[in-house]
C-alpha cells in the first residue's frame, strides 16, 4: 500500500458508502438506532474533503488525516471505532517494513481495545478478524469479505446497541460489519487498479 493507492482506497470507500447510505441505515434500523448510513456518509465526505485540501504525500499522513476526521466527524459508536481502527493502523505503519496485514491487524486490535468486543459478538470485528487472517495468508478475496459480512446474520448480538434486542438481532446483518465489508472491498479494488 502506498499513498496513491491509499487515497484511491478512500475514494472508492466513499463512493460505496454514499451509494449504500440508505441501505446502511436500513440495516441499522431493526437492531440499532438508524444512524449508521448518515454517520458514515458524513465522516467520509469530510475525509475526502480533507484529502483534497491537504494533499497528503505519505501513507502516514493519509492515515493520520483519516483518523482525525473519522474521530471528530462521525460520532455515535462508529466514530470512535473506525477512528481507533485507523489510529491503530497509523501506529503500525510507523514501523519500518511492516507488512500490510500487520497494519490492518493493528487496526483490529485498536477496535477491540476501544469497543471490548469479542469474535462472534455480531460486530464489525467479525469481518476484520477473517480479513486479517486471509491477508496474512495472501488469500483475501471479495468472496472472503462477503462471507464474513454474511456470517454476522445468524449471530445474536452481545455488544453495541444491537445487544438490546437480544434474540431479535438474529437474522440481520450487522451494519458495522457491512460497512467494514465495503471498506475492504474498496481496498481490493484500489490495489487491483
Amino acid at each position: 500500500m502506498n499513498v496513491e493507492t491509499g487515497i484511491r482506497w478512500m475514494e472508492l470507500f466513499n463512493e460505496k458508502v454514499q451509494a449504500e447510505k440508505d441501505y446502511l441505515t436500513q440495516l441499522d434500523t431493526p437492531i440499532g438506532d438508524s444512524d449508521h448510513g448518515n454517520n458514515m456518509s458524513r465522516g467520509m465526505t469530510h475525509v475526502i474533503e480533507a484529502i483534497e485540501a491537504q494533499k497528503p504525500d505519505s501513507l502516514e499522513e493519509l492515515l493520520k488525516l483519516i483518523t482525525t476526521n473519522l474521530l471528530s466527524k462521525v460520532g455515535g459508536a462508529s466514530g470512535p471505532l473506525y477512528g481507533s481502527a485507523f489510529m491503530g493502523m497509523l501506529k503500525a505503519q510507523k514501523e519500518d517494513n511492516i507488512p500490510w496485514s500487520a497494519v490492518i491487524k493493528s487496526g483490529l486490535e485498536s477496535i477491540q481495545k476501544r469497543g471490548k468486543a469479542e469474535a462472534f459478538d455480531k460486530t464489525m470485528i467479525d469481518v476484520w478478524i477473517p480479513v486479517v487472517e486471509a491477508l496474512e495468508n495472501n488469500q483475501l478475496t471479495d468472496a472472503v469479505i462477503d462471507q464474513a459480512v454474511e456470517s454476522t446474520k445468524p449471530l445474536k448480538a452481545k455488544k453495541g446497541r444491537a445487544s438490546y434486542v437480544g434474540e431479535r438481532s438474529i437474522g440481520h446483518i450487522d451494519p458495522g460489519a457491512y460497512s467494514s465489508g465495503l471498506l475492504f472491498h474498496a481496498m481490493l479494488e484500489a490495489e487491483a487498479e
Partner: protein
Amino acid sequence: MKKIVNDPTNIVDEMLKGMIVSHSELIQRVPETGVIQRKAEKTGKVAVISGGGSGHEPAHAGFVGEGMLSAAVCGEVFTSPTPDQILEAIKATDEGAGVFLVIKNYSGDIMNFEMAQELAEMEGIEVASIVVDDDVAVEDSLYTQGKRGVAGTLFVHKILGYAAQQGQSIAEIKELADKLVPNIKSIGLALTGVTTPGSKQPSFILGDDEIEYGVGIHGEPGYRREKLQSSRDLAEELLTKLTDEFGEKEEKNFAIMVNGLGGTPLMEQYVFTNDVYTLMKEQNLTIDYYKIGNLMTSLEMQGLSLTMLYLEDDFYIEALQAPVTTISW
C-alpha cells in the same frame, strides 16, 4: 414524515442557533462546536456536564444553567457527540475544581466520553464520570451493553447540579452519583415509531390500535407489543415493572417523572400521572416530588416514560426542590 426543516444535515446547528438567540440571557455556544454553556460566573466549583445525541430536546441543553448543568454537548440526531466536542465542553466549563460527566449508557456515548476524559486528563483537568442506566426494559447482563440511560438521567443532572452548586468536591459528587443511580428506574411505552430527519422510514411501525412497551428513546424496539389499553392499565403495567425492580423497600417515598416522548399531549400525561398517583396510593407508596412534561423526548414519538426515584437519602429531595435558572426544568 412531514418536518419543518431546511436542510436535514444542518438541523442541529440551526436548532442551536435558535436556542441561543431566544435564551441569550441564560446560555451561550462555545464557538464552532455543538456545546451549549451556561452564562454564569465561575466560582471555583465542580462543573457537571452531560450530552448525547440530539432529538431529545429539551434534554440536555434545556437543563444548562445555574444549579444544574454547566454545559451540554449536542451531537447529531440520535448520535453521540465526538471526543473533540466533549473535550471543548470540559475545557470551557472547568472552574479549577474538576469536571463531572453524566453519560447515558450507550456504547457510542461511553466510548466518545471516555476518549474525551483521557484527552482532558492529559491536559491536566480532573475528570470523573457516572454512567446512567435507568431503563429496566432491557435485560442487564454481562453479555449485553446493559440497561440504557433514559429520562432518569435528568434526576441525576438535577441532584448532582445542586451538589456542585453547594460546593461539593468531585470525589463527593462521584460518591453521591454512585449511590444515586441504582435508586432510579424508568420504563417507556410508545404509540408510534419515530423518523429521524432525512430518513425515509420510521424506526418501527405500530398498527392504529397497537402500543409497544419498553421502547428506547431512539426508537429501539421494546419488550412487548399489545392492543392499546386505558391509561390506567398502561400505568399499572409500567408501575408494576418498576416496583418489581425495586423489590421491598423500607421507606415508601419516591419522586416520579412522567416524561412525554414528544408527540403526546400534556393532557394525556396528566391523565396518566393521576393513574400513577392512584395506583401508588393503593400500594401505600408516597410521592414526594413530581416532574411532568416533555423532558427527554424522542423527536415526534407518541408515548411516555415513567421514572421512579427511591428517596433513600434526604439530600435527594432537597436537591430536587432547589431552584434553578435553566430553560426547561
